[in-house]
Symmetry: C2
Subunit: 498 residues, 2 copies
Amino acid sequence: MTSRDGYCWTPEDGLKAGVPSLGVISPASNISSSEVLYDVIVIGAGYCGLTAARNAAIAGLKVLLLEGRDRIGGRSWSSNIGGYPFEMGGTWVHWGQANTWREVVRYQMEGEVEKSHDFTNGVKHFELNTLQGTTTMSHDEEDEVTESAFKKFTNIDGAYGRETIPLPYTTFRNPASIPLDSQSAQDRINEIANVLTAQERAILETSILLCSGGTLETTSFHEFMHWWAMCGYTYQGFLDLLITWKFRGGQSTFARKFFDEALATKRLSYTFNTPIKHIKDTGSSVAITTRTGQTFRALRVISTLPLNVLGAVSFDPPLPAGKQAAIAIGHVNQTIKVHAELSNKALRSWTGVTYPHNELYYAIGDGTTPAGNTHIVCFGGNNKHMDPEADISVTQNAVSSMFDPSNYGGKEVEIQRLVFHNWSKDEFAKGAWFFAPPKLLVNHLDDMRAQHGSIVFASSDWALGWRSFIDGAIEEGTRAALQVTKDIEALKAGRPSL
Amino acid sequence: MTSRDGYCWTPEDGLKAGVPSLGVISPASNISSSEVLYDVIVIGAGYCGLTAARNAAIAGLKVLLLEGRDRIGGRSWSSNIGGYPFEMGGTWVHWGQANTWREVVRYQMEGEVEKSHDFTNGVKHFELNTLQGTTTMSHDEEDEVTESAFKKFTNIDGAYGRETIPLPYTTFRNPASIPLDSQSAQDRINEIANVLTAQERAILETSILLCSGGTLETTSFHEFMHWWAMCGYTYQGFLDLLITWKFRGGQSTFARKFFDEALATKRLSYTFNTPIKHIKDTGSSVAITTRTGQTFRALRVISTLPLNVLGAVSFDPPLPAGKQAAIAIGHVNQTIKVHAELSNKALRSWTGVTYPHNELYYAIGDGTTPAGNTHIVCFGGNNKHMDPEADISVTQNAVSSMFDPSNYGGKEVEIQRLVFHNWSKDEFAKGAWFFAPPKLLVNHLDDMRAQHGSIVFASSDWALGWRSFIDGAIEEGTRAALQVTKDIEALKAGRPSL
């Protein structure tokens, strides 16, 4: 099945909108009537909504899942092109991610992961292109420089943050961690600028942007430290947990497990291609009106709308001031992720940074495609933002600029394919994974998490642990389903006529 | 409520059997008839059984939980003495443990953990007592020596095991890891003996025994490397994941969440004090006969009996040869865990090793009791085994021998209380957490995991990830409940008359 989402470019066919994905659901709906009163309507079929819908359906609730797109997965989905998966959004998983790995093992997928990088053959180098010039170094040297930079950046307490954020699921518990949320990444870099080498600084800045997708000024230092704490306060942990293991068959193979299990309960109704417009909570039930004017009703609603799109839906009664304030601020992540197939096989073991002058700042060899090409995955963000479909030559140039021809016998790389999704232009995402600007979390994390009448708000954007990650989405979907299941049980116990 | 399990000794009252625990369930049974045909009978109310029973009940199955003891928790439970929890078995948890932490967050207990150690005040030292004499050193020095020893022990591939066991949930996937399971810890120590200092060797041997509770000869090197891989291949990870964070209210507060949630579904029947004797699988249903001759029937059974007690139950048809072989071998962990209240407050920041001549080889300051005493937790095992209740003066002496009076102004420690459970004499455990002898896993892991007719065998003893841990129990309970739920659904779909 082909999704409307995503783009693919090849020399032969040029740029085409829409890519195949195992996450596209057919038929797109299994409901015939909108007259049903559901126990719960789940808005959004990303991992958070899938988890919430699945858990609620298992627990016996009558569930309706509404999704604006034609596919499951939300900000995590894979495009299957010729049997080869390109990860359009969230990619990497690890057994240290509690909610994700619990599901991986539950679905017996623990053997279905593989490493992104493979440094065994080929160029086996890291290429650093900055305004000061170009350098290549071994991956061991890359690690050494990066680790040194990370240690300087994170060592706020003589213990690399361990004393300040001892429990990464409750980061604000230690008062010493609170001021970190008033600092931007830029503020922190300014504090340590005189002990960073130029190489360390370029790699550090790129690494931070690779996390936040914003700018150094709009990146909360606290949130970066939260990620760092989640990764065990080490650079090796950062690599292991954030950018190493991916599903051999692609994210959508994992997401399908949730959807298929929910469907097997026979208590899941669903309809895709159904963006919603308005949510009215009467107290006794909630009515959801779609853009096309259909109305669905339920006793409870679980909204998994991301922070950046929550403002596009109207609520009656209106959302409380704290939630509205958080929506008005929004998160800052405008990551651009571009996959490229390159004909040079030796680049399989390549990694690179081109910063700050390029639209794409970081890339790694991520696989070998069925055609035998090297697949690299490239990242850019808000520091030099582009819409990769707007002018494909700009995107091609941004990919090519990751490689200085002088390192490759004067040859430019040959791009055989580009695959990407424009998250910034995606009306159901308006950005990539959540990343907090300074002060958003300390002021509004509780607001974002708060229930509003009969509506539970669940999203990786305000998870406690792996916030922004697939894991955080599952964490939140689990929380929401449990809450709603308890509510509905209490409701039905009190009103046996229902 | 007071459990039959456990012992407490004080100078005033002497040795008493039975200690209070929040894990004791009252009333001990909620069933009146044994004529019911259950969907599933879960044998054992440890974390594995609790998870299986809870998940099956949530999924709509009619569940009977049978437990030989008077309490939940199995090999993990806390005694609440004067409001202060002593952990009688499994203690420490961490957000890197997928199944455990998923539940911690689901039950909103992420803020209810605290550190065992507190090195801020008091002696702030590590005491090493060996046959060669006694030494004290700072905790930084302790870490340095221990890390150095661990690195030598684990560095089988130039990458501290990372290359050999890249995916710790599927340890045997890399053929290079298989020979490690033919090696004992002693074999591996022999290989590196000439590069270990005497201090490193004493601490290393103690650390290994602290994991296995066996002897160095009966400890599989592969299984130790599995633990090491689960901890991120670092000593810091070992500390963080294995021995740092515990529940402020004790393990039984966590276990209660599972039981109470299962009970709230109104689909959980249970009866404690009900050891079972015989399991007969007729194909269409399974009949379980208790020691007192009661019979219970179900479509499916989930046995969570640990490996070392599985042989005490008879099966008809008999268990297959592979499972019987695994049972005949058994696991080797005979850990002795003794809590002691000491009047010296300064010992809060103490850690110690007394090895190999003492029944207790390792201990750490674990808390301050309501009486203001320092609580230390001490560990011994099979290298010099004792039954701590057999002669309390031997146990007292083993605790006192953790401290060389010459380090404390010539004074012996004053013991105000001892609390322990004898896991080796416990008929429902016959040992502590699972630890594999050489060759058990490579030959029989699949056998231990295999279903037998309508009986699913689930236990932390053969979990894939945190085998031996609470996490592994939840992993296995999750697997079993999902399997049985699918089976029962298929059965009922095929036989609508049921």
